[in-house]
Amino acid sequence: MQLSREALLQAYRQMKTIRVFEDRLHDEIALGEIAGFTHLYAGQEACAVGVCERLDAQDFIISTHRGHGHCIAKGCDVVGMMKEIYGSSEGLCKGKSGSMHIADVTKGMLGANGIVGAGAPIAVGAGITAKGTGNVSIAFSGDGACNQGTTFEAMNMAVVLKLPVIFVFENNHYSEHTGESYAVGAESMTTRAAAFGMKAIKADGIDFFSVYEAMRELIAYCKAGNGPASIELDCERFFGHFEGDPQRYRGKGELDRLREERDCLKLFRTKVTEAKLLEGAALDALDAEVTALIDRAVAESKAAARPTADHVLEDVYISY
């Protein structure tokens, strides 16, 4: 582990922010405070943060149906995101996007997506822009999206055009309610990606350091002009497909076991404290800081301005 103390604190801060953001959303949704469909990311924090901590502001990412974690990891405003999910006109997307479509192009975050598998082709386009500039484009996809034809087209086109695109497959083992062992016909996402002619590796998606180290290798590979690459991250989803999902497809005791044995935040804490890189008190202080931020985000969201009917037609076109 060659990360500086500041880099370690930043990685933990980002992961913890995602976790508290998601846990708080879970509670607020249960209280009936938030409308619509919400798909929580908790459990997969090491994936988003392990990837995005390797990126700079000029790199691009495109997210999935489960996009909050990627948004936070790429540096989107957390309070603005919360206001967006609450449907406020002060939200990051003025209340037009809600949970499923949050984007901030100025941060290189090209959007969560309501359509599973739609992101990979768009990441290829960002790869066209990135080619030759030293930047990369990241296509986050789940194990559900990996079976969409769009993802196949995107992988082939990225190979053909030798684009600096990294396909990040977060394999949380469930596409909606269907197990990966049933829905992914190939041996793995990695063998499938390799068949398109790109470098394809795996990493442990609950271990920030595993993801972070693997991304160093892939980004260097892409920047050297070798074309695209892919990484499959073995990870866990702590909540259902959508909020309110009773998760009857889970095994008995499965969630309790995952939260006990495969929690990326617990793993991170154990690793850095045992290696004496960070002390528990510093992490506790960050926990408090993050919790205060999310408390403020929720309070401000509840008090924030609501859109009015005259906002419906705004931003359909730039000029009309």
Binding site: C93, N113, I122, I128, A130, V160
Partner: protein, 338 residues
């Protein structure tokens, strides 16, 4: 002014815009043609002859020949345009929109709205459309009603060489996504084209012929058919106020309503089938906003409610024609209230 075929106008306009603005890129299937083949790059230069020579001039980073992957073509154009490029995507036949509909309908058309107005998506999706080639049901369709119905897209249907230049240059400079529909049967048509920078703003119809008896609305190849019909009708003393709408979104409602208020009669010519269509949309507009001006029922000359057939006899029966337009106009003129 130079005389040019419309296919050459398209290539030359793209060339001028690419020379003017480094951020303009182009992508599509076989737009270079011959890549990876013994004949080599530029062996074809586009199935429609609308991109020959551009690859040699601008290179593979700006003229991007793609695999047959329509979803990835539109997605890539979208991603590039969100990140600073101006992308011109070619879908070889408009019929193939079915393959990439999600990227057009759910992604490109909605980015600006979903992202709270904080993004631009300068993308032109060029799609050759329409019948007349005996190309059968999956290579002959018109799709403008479908895309006109989608908020967030602008839709252009030029009918002349000059308009093709002005509207395409405008489309490439727009910061909104534009569906640019080129009628296949017009590619070989010649016309005078203004030299230099020439832009036609969207939402402004073109008056083709002036007349006081009946308003005729048309787009694309239908404009020529209607012009032919108007000449025949003029010989019988029927004056057609023929309007080429040029863009279906935005729509020049003012030109339509002003004309109908003057003539009192409306005839709509369109290649699409008649149900839930562009013709019915225009009918509803006029019935809603100029009802008291109407002196006869609104006439529509459209394709029937069928796919576009293959055989010459069947396709001719399907497509509108000058004769069908004349007959419909005469019917409107002869209407008497009972």
């Amino acid at each position: 002014m130079a005389m040019k075929m419309i296919r050459d106008v398209i290539r030359d306009t793209i060339d001028e815009e690419m020379a003017r603005d480094d951020s303009v890129i182009m992508l599509g299937e076989d737009i270079v043609g011959g890549m990876g083949s013994p004949g080599g790059p530029e062996a074809i230069g586009g199935i429609w002859g609308t991109s020959g020579g551009l690859w040699a001039k601008y290179g593979s980073d700006r003229v991007i020949d793609t695999p047959i992957s329509e979803s990835a073509i539109i997605g890539a154009a979208a991603g590039a345009s969100l990140t600073g490029k101006r992308a011109i995507a070619e879908i070889m036949f408009a019929d193939f929109i079915g393959v990439c509909m999600d990227q057009i309908w759910n992604q490109v058309a909605k980015f600006r709205y979903m992202f709270g107005g904080k993004s631009k998506c300068p993308i032109v999706i060029r799609m050759p459309y329409g019948g007349g080639y005996n190309a059968a049901p999956q290579h002959s369709q018109s799709i403008h009603a479908m895309v006109t119905a989608m908020p967030g897209l602008k839709v252009v249907m030029p009918s002349t060489a000059a308009d093709t230049k002005g509207l395409l240059a405008q489309a490439i400079r727009e910061d909104d996504p534009v569906i640019f529909l080129e009628h296949k049967a017009l590619y070989g048509v010649k016309g005078e084209v203004p030299d230099g920078d020439y832009l036609i703003p969207f939402g402004h119809a073109r008056q083709v012929t002036q007349g006081d008896d009946i308003t005729v609305l048309a787009t694309g190849m239908m404009v020529g058919f209607a012009e032919n019909a108007a000449a025949q009708l003029a010989q019988d003393g029927i004056g057609c106020d023929l309007i080429d709408l040029r863009t279906t979104s935005p729509l020049d409602e003012e030109a339509i309503l002003d004309s109908v208020e003057r003539t009192g009669r409306l005839l709509i010519v369109d290649e699409l089938p008649p149900r839930c269509s562009f013709a019915t949309d225009l009918s509803a507009l006029v019935a809603n906003k100029a009802f008291s001006s109407l002196r006869a029922p609104i006439e529509m000359v459209t394709g029937p409610h069928s796919p576009v057939p293959f055989a010459r006899e069947l396709e001719s029966a399907y497509l509108p024609s000058p004769e069908k337009i004349v007959a419909a106009a005469v019917k409107a003129m002869s209407y008497r209230r009972g």
